[in-house]
Every structure is written in structure tokens, then in C-alpha cells.
């Protein structure tokens, strides 16, 4: 296990964590809402993709064309119909509601799909790899996941900083009251933000379900790495989220190279160190 392999595998793993974290980063950045149900929404997307691939007999990649718009709509309705009502001075009501949502999603999935372990099959792509010199092998699928994280972040960057909608998002994020005075409908805007966040979450869920198996209880574990990636990178910062994921991934790879017991712990330790040294994360966009 040489240094090169550690860095490559760690970076690829970081791409996965960043992908998990994008939706979380976006909802926090704009609405200051921490979505505790994020991990369960990833699992829900995986199950939705499973239903789509099974009933239409199509590849999981094609199923994205159904699941992503579906989750956009779900996000919009969820925010408009439920979460908007919880927004206010206190951060607690949305937290409580999303926590409840997390419990509901898990139990509904268990009731509907049972406890069986599932996976989205993509045939040989699952185990395909590129051979590099010095005996380094890179899985094609982890590479796709990393590329997907880059493309998503790039697209989101464009949306937020180059479009009218993005300007409205940023304005609302900075000062909701003034934005409203300027004629922005915050409720609609928040719903759009949640819709976009869930569209990315759906993508993350489908890629996650191809990468490994999932069951109704898989969600909460995903939440912690997404949280850590967001916080390491700096809340609300998009590229910081990617960097946060990569820091977490490389820390875990280094830990694993030392001793397997250190793998996950090393990631948490890196998280702790960054929290102590830079409590706002590496690239804090918001100072509140």
C-alpha cells in the first residue's frame, strides 16, 4: 500500500462523501436547516430507483431520469407543505420535524419493502477497473462517482453565481427579510432549494445503491459522513464540501493503512482537529 494508492483511494472515497453531502450543504447554506432525514432520503431514493428499474426493466443510470425529477418534486412539496411551516427564529422545530421524518421513512420502507438487503445491478461495470503503472488499480465506478460529484458541484456553482435564480438564493440566504422586500417569494424559493437539494440527493442515493447494498436502516450512517464533510469544508461552501469529503476520505485511507481499527476513527479525528483549529471549517462562506 504505497502513498500514491492511499491518496487515490482516499480521494475517490472523498468524492462519495461529497456527493452525499451536497444536498445537506445546499439546504443549510440557503435555509439554515439541518436536515436530519438526509441519510434516509438517500435510502428512499435508492428504493425509488429499485422500483423504477424493476418495473420498467431499465438500467439504474436510465432510472435517474425518473428518480431525479421525482425527488425534485418531492423536495418542493416537502418544503412547501411541511418544512416552511417550521422555519422561524429557532433552529429546533425543523430539526425535530426532519428527525421525525427520518423515523417515518425508515419504518415505512421496512413495512413496504421488508428488511431484505437490496442492490441496483449494473453488471460488469461494478467491478471494472483501470490499470495504472506500479500496480495501482482504480475502480471505474468510484471514478464515475467522483466525476459525478465534480459535475454536480460545478453545476451548482453555476446556478448559484451565474443565474438570476442563484442571485435570489444568495440574497435570501444573506438576508431573508430584505430579499422579501425586494419581491422575492421566500416560501417558493426555499421550496425550489429543497427540490434541487433532493434532486442531488437522489443522484447520490442511486450511485450509493450501485456501489453497495442497502436496506431500510442504511440511512443514518450516511448522515454522519455527510455532516462531517460539510463541516470540515465550511458550512455553505460548495467546493469546501468536496474538500471536506476528500480530507475525510484520505484521513480514513491513512488510518486504514496504519491499522484497520484506525480507519473510521482517523476520519473522526481529522474532523475533530479541524473543528478545534478552524471551528468554521476550511472555507467558511457564512459568518453567523
Amino acid at each position: 500500500m504505497n502513498v500514491m494508492t492511499i491518496l487515490i483511494q482516499g480521494t475517490l472515497l472523498g468524492g462519495l462523501y461529497a456527493l452525499f453531502a451536497i444536498g445537506l450543504s445546499l439546504t443549510f447554506g440557503i435555509m439554515r436547516v439541518v436536515n436530519i432525514a438526509h441519510g434516509d432520503l438517500i435510502t428512499l431514493a435508492a428504493f425509488a430507483a429499485l422500483v423504477v428499474t424493476d418495473t420498467l426493466a431499465i438500467s439504474p443510470f436510465v432510472a435517474l431520469g425518473v428518480v431525479v425529477p421525482l425527488f425534485f418534486a418531492l423536495g418542493y412539496l416537502l418544503q412547501r407543505g411541511l418544512l416552511n411551516r417550521t422555519l422561524g427564529d429557532s433552529i429546533l422545530p425543523p430539526l425535530l420535524v426532519t428527525f421525525g421524518l427520518s423515523v417515518i421513512i425508515q419504518n415505512v420502507l421496512l413495512e413496504v419493502f421488508g428488511a431484505n438487503i437490496r442492490r441496483l445491478p449494473v453488471g460488469n461495470l461494478e467491478t471494472a477497473s483501470l490499470q495504472l503503472p506500479a500496480g495501482i488499480a482504480i475502480g471505474v465506478f468510484p471514478l464515475i462517482v467522483f466525476a459525478a460529484a465534480l459535475i454536480c458541484l460545478g453545476a451548482l456553482q453555476y446556478l448559484l453565481y451565474r443565474t438570476r435564480l442563484g442571485r435570489a438564493f444568495r440574497a435570501t440566504s444573506d438576508d431573508p427579510e430584505t430579499a422579501e422586500l425586494m419581491g422575492i417569494d421566500n416560501r417558493h424559493l426555499y421550496a425550489l432549494a429543497m427540490g434541487i437539494a433532493l434532486a442531488f440527493t437522489a443522484l447520490a442515493g442511486v450511485l450509493f445503491a450501485i456501489r453497495t447494498t442497502f436496506d431500510p436502516a442504511s440511512g443514518p450512517i450516511r448522515l454522519i459522513f455527510a455532516f462531517e464533510a460539510v463541516i470540515i469544508g465550511g458550512l455553505g461552501s460548495l467546493w469546501g464540501t468536496l474538500l471536506g469529503g476528500v480530507v475525510l476520505g484520505i484521513a480514513q485511507s491513512i488510518g486504514a493503512a496504519i491499522s484497520l481499527e484506525w480507519q473510521i476513527l482517523a476520519g473522526h479525528i481529522a474532523f475533530m482537529i479541524i473543528l478545534v483549529l478552524k471551528p468554521d471549517g476550511l472555507f467558511p462562506r457564512t459568518q453567523d
Binding site: 428488511a115 442492490r119 481499527e261
Partner: protein, 438 residues
Amino acid sequence: MSQSDERNTADLMTIDGIGRRRVLRSLAVSGASALAAPALMIKPAQAAGRPIKIGFVSPQTGPIAAFGEADTFILDGVRKALGKGIVVAGTEHPVQIIYKDSQSNPNRAAEVAAQLINNDKVDIMLASSTSDTVNPVADQCELAGVPCVTSDDPWQAYFFGRKGDPKKGFDWTYHFFWGFENIAEVFSNMWNSLPSNKSLGLLFSNDPDGIAANEQLPGVFAKMGFTVTTAGLYTATTDDFSAQIAQFKKANVEIVMGIFTPPAFATFWTQCGQQGFRPKLVTPAKAVLFPSAVAALGPRGVNLTTEVWWSPHHPFKSGLTGQTAQQFCDEYTRVTKRQWTQPLGFKHATLEVAIDVLKRAKKLEAAAIRDAIAETNYNSLVGPIQWKTGPVRNVCLTPLVGGQWRKGKSFPYDLDIVNSQSAPSIKPDSVIQPIIYT
């Protein structure tokens, strides 16, 4: 989010965690009483005694819910077989089975066990499926002096996991299953029946099962003549195994054995493919027990090997319903449209052993029931049960054989028994094969 916000989040999650448990608990209680209602409605027969209460703790929700998936089917079958009740010391008593969900959580398992003991005042406690369910329940019973029968957890994890002393044993709690020595024997029998370089790679989960295995198995396999490469203990949330795979490749490992959770194994096995690591045999204990877990691996599930504690081909019968293992599984598939799983047999056996114990109890009180457990000599759906000749006083060993997953006929995968040197009464279905790579 600022630091103070985060602290709020952390506080909230604790408070909320309790709230959630409370809600679920009340749901579980109402569920349990709904289940118990039919037993209460049975009109007392002549000279009927008080209802006998059996507490049963099992994971019906949460990460290990697959173990409890058949519980409703099993309870229905047992309740039907019991009819009006059983005769204990000359008096007929109706039987009430109070079922509680452990939610795959050891704290919750201890909590519901305490409820069953203190509120329901159960006469005998049952629990099954993994240390996380069995150990906390047995501990509560040992403390409260309630007779307890458990199954489906390797006996070392049950006995030493509860700080048992082999000289003294436990007073109230009894267990039947196999142990790590059986796993070592069965696995090595399987591996030795194929030509290989005997280079073995080991990888364990960092949980009670994996820690116990990590302490015992590497030494045992080394003594059996395998060259052992131990990669250590991985955390359940691991998403990357490339370091361990590199280590196995370097040691030219041809056989991989580990204790895995199913998602961790799926990640590991996919990465083996990506990294071009092609062992001849892979035996991930615990990870491929269930057909659904193998089906989730797609075509790469073919010829994975596993421990088999029970199958429709085991030559045993239920002493309660008279069904053979095959009949029992066929009935399960007919009613639920699902493929049989190994916990089926053990869940049923745990209940039927308890009923046999109650029938033999001289009196309907804790000490008499406990003595009846110790005196058990019973032929169950998973084989003979008696606590006279076990490795320790409170443990009865059941047979273990080796199996291999094959492309299935009516379901995606079928489990063939490929090695039964350790339990010759069970006949192999086919001969072990190396994993085929295309």
C-alpha cells in the same frame, strides 16, 4: 452553523432519541397486546390454571431485522399448535406468548426484557438472533432469577460476552447454538476439500462477534496448517477496503474468511473485483446467510461459501407440530411467498423447547422451570437439545455444516450443503467448487 447551534443539535438529538424510543415503545406494547389478544380470548377449560406467560424478544426492525422477518409466521404456527393450552403438573393452562421487538438494539432488548419480567411477570423468557439481542435479555433474566432459553448466537459470544465463568456457569440462563470451534472445523473441512496454496486472509467486523472471532480464529487456523494473513477489525461504517485487499494480494491469499455485515461484504467483494483480486474461495460468515443478501450481489454471489446451521435438508422434525424441516420451509414459502432462511428453524425450536420445558416442569414456578430446562432431552426442528454434555453448563451445541450458494431454480439463489464431515447425519447436496471468474 456556529458552535452553540451545534451543541443545541447534539442536545436535541439526545432528547429526541428518547422521544422516539418512547413512541416506538408504546407502539410495540400495543402491537404486542394485539398479538396476545387471541390467547386471552380462549375460554378457560375445566380446571384451567392461570395463563402461562412466555416472553419472546427478537429483532423485528432495525439493521438485523432480516433475522426476525419470519416471526409472525412462526408465532402463528406455534399458537395454532398449542390450541387451548398445555398441561403442567396435572392442570391445563392457556399459554400466552408476549412478543417484543428489540429494534436490533441491545439497550432496547434489555429494556423490553425488564418490562417482560417486571410488568408482565413472564414465567419463562426466550430470545434469539445475535449477541445484541440474546446477551442483554439473558443478563436481565440472570439478575432477576427468571428462567431463560436463547439461541442463534455463537456460544462464546453468548457465554464469554456475558463474562461467564466456565467453572460456575449461569444459574438461570441456557443457550443452544454452535461455537467458533465448529466454524473453524467446518470452514477448514470445506477449504481442504479443494486444492489451494492454503494461504488464508482474515478480516473481522469490530463488534462482539468479530472481536471474539479475531481472538480465537487466527491461531486455530494457523494450527490447522493455513498460512494466515490477518487484516484486523474493520468498523461497520467502512466504505473502503483497498488497503486490506492490497495486503491479501501481496500475501497471495487464495481463501478469504471474515465476519462481515452484508453491506460491508458487498463493498469488500465489489472492490476485490475492481482491484483484480480473485481468491478461489470466499467464506464471509454472517454476511451471506440470507438468500436476499446473496441475490443483492448479482452474479458475483455464485459459489460463495457460508456456515449452515439449519436447512430444509436437515433430517430433523419439530416435536411440537411434527413437521419435518422440508415441510416447515415449504409451508413458509407457501404462506409468505418468501424463500426459507436459517433463523426460521431456530426461532421455532426456541419456542418448542420452551413448551417442552413447561410441560415437564414439576410446578409452575421459576426454580422448577429452571430445573426442567437443565433436564431437557428433546428432539427439536434443529436437532437434539440437552444441556448435559455441552462445552459449558449452560450451552448445548447444535450441528453445523458448510454450504455454497448456487444459481437457484425458483429463487435467484439456492444454498447447497457441500460439506458435512462434522455432522454426518446431514447429507451433502453437491460437491464444493472454486469461484469462477470470467
